[in-house]
Symmetry: C2
Subunit: 513 residues, 2 copies
């Protein structure tokens, strides 16, 4: 188990490391999956879940809170609307979605090299979303500020695992609730060149988000390109509210992307079983995605699922447990059958700090995320404390580990080079392969490697300060922020954007609701 | 994301927690898998790997170091022996194994309730093996002693996740090399009632191990029951040495269990690719398992694989990386095709302490272990630093997380209770399920739960001392050792065993080789 010096490692190591570093810093725009997704339920089981979801949509229906216009939209498409309840004929939502929702689409980034393709067989990794707190080793946990938000935009920009800038990386609670979205969208436009998400906390804020990317890309661009995404959660069970569905309407009517995600805490918002969580998620998501297609056929939607289990002692959500993993596998399969991109999973944990619990729960979640066949993976990096906090160290650690997805999803190389039969025939019993031609030809790309994990000898690790992984990550994020350079934004666009922002902010008073 | 008080949790919580604890402390003797194993390679790919392994066995053959008797054994079975090289006709080893090796067998424990069944569809979880060092939060890392060994036997005995006592839980380096096996086997016999493993460091020590269980179970018992297991690693590539194969001969001729495990550090002992590591592992294991079957047809064998990747900077082994996971999936599939139980995986890490790296690498390894379809899972709990150390806290943390395997391998419940359609129809939009009859009927068993993870609110966690997972595990192992009680051993057997040990130890001088 002791370290073995590879012969090739002795010559010009520094030069090669520099070269490797440069190469690894090139962000792949997204991953392409070769490994088949893992299925955990038979076709009959999936069909039964689909049948039951249709039963829910038909018999129970969806309650639409405080949004008469949505009721009219559903009624116009043929749904049965009684009061605020919308009921659907069997198969109606599926038919609407399959008629117009794209299976695969591109979200354009302002740097065209960083545009992402969303849908099978592609995988887009995205940072965590929505935390009111931050955590780091220096300060512990505290409320997030716009400075933290900018920091995470910058760290995401510099990170070569994360393909997409994400959205509400954290809540800048030092800004008024009704205006912080403007500063967030601006930060995504200015400090990164990756694709990103806008606001959904009120339809007017969704519209602001869309208006800002119109300044960035030109208003006409949005008619034929998808440049921003919104995330809507259902009010499970079986309800959609005005803010979420109203925001969905704004994104859809502007031909932009909606991520439709029921949020299910099993035992609270749905029955405790895996199949029931999947059934209800499917029903709620079908209604939300159909709504977007009715508003504007062809506007891209992503089928999302967020499912967690619950502590039976306290009712608190729990993560990295087997049951939500199984829900994820089932919903990924249902999404493939429906034919839309799928979002779920990430590096989830209930832990308050980047400890053993945080890592174990995160890894279990992320392994399922990879294996089930997720196309858009929100919450890839940073998530702590059930989403209440984003961790600076956790962000670095998660993104580092998630970079293994590329190698994992490549699957097993079954070419002659992969079988390497000749190399084994050329060697002999007891002869090591360190210097064999096959090893030298493949060594650089043979094994995924972490940039944070320490594989040194105990003695070397001690000499280097006996740092644990979180301490190494602490050094990393500080160095990255110190080295950050803006990607640069066209001056005229920047000025127009600042003018739009000043005018918009001045047009209504600050409010914290 | 905040804690939700479950109505049922308000009444008599203490009483129910006590009851749950009592129930959870009952060790299931082993797990039964319902979820189908995950396959990552097509049948054609597996056939090609089998073909290539046969090519290696035919063209290169196996070198047998310093063990003429083994050459004669192979020659007697029809192998081509030239010098110390043994070559096999295509399919010969497979045919020998399939003719007599059991697909499923029982290893008897001295407590019959703890006997384990090894083979599909069962899963047996076993602690880590072979570390010369221990690690804990109080002392850091130091050499292991027989006191540590006893501690881990006791902790394994008390642990309700681990089904089997394991073998060399750590190396008691305070005892002479040539006698420490006697004290280890004695500790397994006295301090636990779970099944266990004996010595393989020399055939005479394997014989001592067998002789000691003859005292425990009666000599005749071994003719029809399997009560001890040995673990043999090949000298990869393509070699078996005297100590390992000689020990295998002792276990096999006594009708006991051999775990035949090539140990492959990709790029060193085999080419760097996944398919090549799998091919060579298969070839070496086929020769080792065939040897056992020639020695005594029907003696149980387990097909083992230990594969790791390598740091391209230092040559150090790395864990929790994608490539060894893929090797594991391939070999589990090859083992199913061969028809013998499979061993691989565990909670592996290169980290020196139970930090984020340790947990992430371990979880990635363990998820693959579960999903690939491992039957006997050595290294489930405790492994640190590439196996150089067993961690007291890591042991507790790993076993805690590994307890999820039962829930995971149960797969998705597709009964009416699992679909829970009526519960969803009875509820309504916006109505939570916390108090629904379906939830109350299923809540206690609905979700796997960790006993170490903390899912409390941040404030509660702070009030409880802001402990991280490793600190909580530190309290746990100390409390368990303080509360340990011996399972009790028949006095006459104990006395006979002590006499055997005294006599045997006096029969040759201490030595550290």
């Amino acid at each position: 188990m002791t370290a073995i010096e590879h012969p090739a490692a002795r010559r010009g190591r520094a030069a090669r490391q520099t070269e490797r570093l440069a190469r690894s810093m090139e962000t792949l725009p997204y991953l392409t999956r070769k490994l088949a997704p893992v299925e955990v339920v038979s076709t009959e089981g999936l069909e039964q879940i689909e049948h039951n979801a249709d039963t829910l949509l038909h018999d129970v229906g969806i309650e639409i809170g405080n949004f008469p216009e949505a009721l009219e939209i559903f009624r116009g498409a043929g749904a049965d609307v009684t009061g605020t309840r919308v009921r659907f004929e069997r198969g109606m939502c599926r038919k609407i979605i399959q008629a117009s929702a794209p299976k695969v689409f591109t979200q354009r980034a302002r740097n065209p090299k960083r545009s992402v393709v969303i849908g099978d067989p592609y995988v887009v990794l995205v940072p965590t979303y929505g935390s009111p707190f931050i955590h780091n080793l220096d300060e512990g946990r505290r409320y997030a500020t716009i400075e933290d938000f900018r920091n995470f935009v910058k760290l995401t920009y510099m990170n070569h695992t994360l393909h997409h800038g994400g959205g509400t990386l954290c809540e800048p609670v030092d800004l008024p609730v009704n205006k912080r979205h403007i500063e967030m969208v601006y930060s995504h436009i200015r400090y990164t060149d990756k694709a990103f998400m806008g606001s959904v906390t009120h339809p007017s804020r969704a519209q602001d988000s869309v208006d800002m990317v119109k300044v960035l890309f030109g208003a006409d661009t949005l008619d034929h390109e998808h440049v921003i995404m919104g995330l809507a959660n259902a009010n499970s069970p079986m309800s959609w509210d005005f803010n979420m569905l109203g925001s969905a309407k704004v994104y859809a009517e502007n031909n932009q992307i909606m991520l439709i995600t029921p949020f299910i805490l099993g035992g609270a918002m749905a029955p405790v079983t895996v199949a029931a969580s999947a059934t209800q998620t499917l029903a709620e998501a079908l209604a939300g995605m159909a709504f977007c297609q009715i508003v504007r056929p062809g506007a891209p939607v992503i089928f999302g699922s967020f499912a967690s289990s619950m502590s039976m002692q306290t009712g608190a959500p729990t993560f990295g447990t087997p049951e939500p993993q199984l829900v994820l596998y089932v919903l990924a399969a249902l999404s493939r059958r429906l034919g839309v991109p799928f979002r779920s999973g990430g590096n989830f944990t209930a832990s308050k700090l980047p400890d053993y619990q945080a890592a174990y729960e995160s890894a279990v979640s992320f392994m399922s995320t990879m294996q089930a066949g997720v196309n858009f993976n929100l919450h890839t990096a940073g998530w702590l404390e059930g989403g209440l906090a984003i961790g600076y160290e956790k962000f670095i650690l998660d993104a580092d580990q998630a970079s293994m997805a590329g190698a994992f999803l490549d699957g097993v190389d079954l070419t002659d080079n992969g079988y390497a039969l000749q190399a084994m025939l050329d060697g002999g019993p007891g002869q090591h392969f360190l210097g064999s031609p096959h090893t030298l030809a493949n060594f650089e790309t043979a094994f995924w490697r972490s940039e944070i994990s320490n594989n040194d000898s105990f003695e070397q690790w001690q000499l280097d300060g006996s740092l644990d992984a979180a301490q190494r990550a602490n050094l990393r994020w500080k160095r990255q922020l110190a080295e950050y350079e803006e990607p640069g934004l066209d001056e005229a666009i920047h000025e127009e954007l600042r003018e739009w922002m000043d005018k918009r902010r001045a047009s209504f008073p600050d409010s914290d609701v």
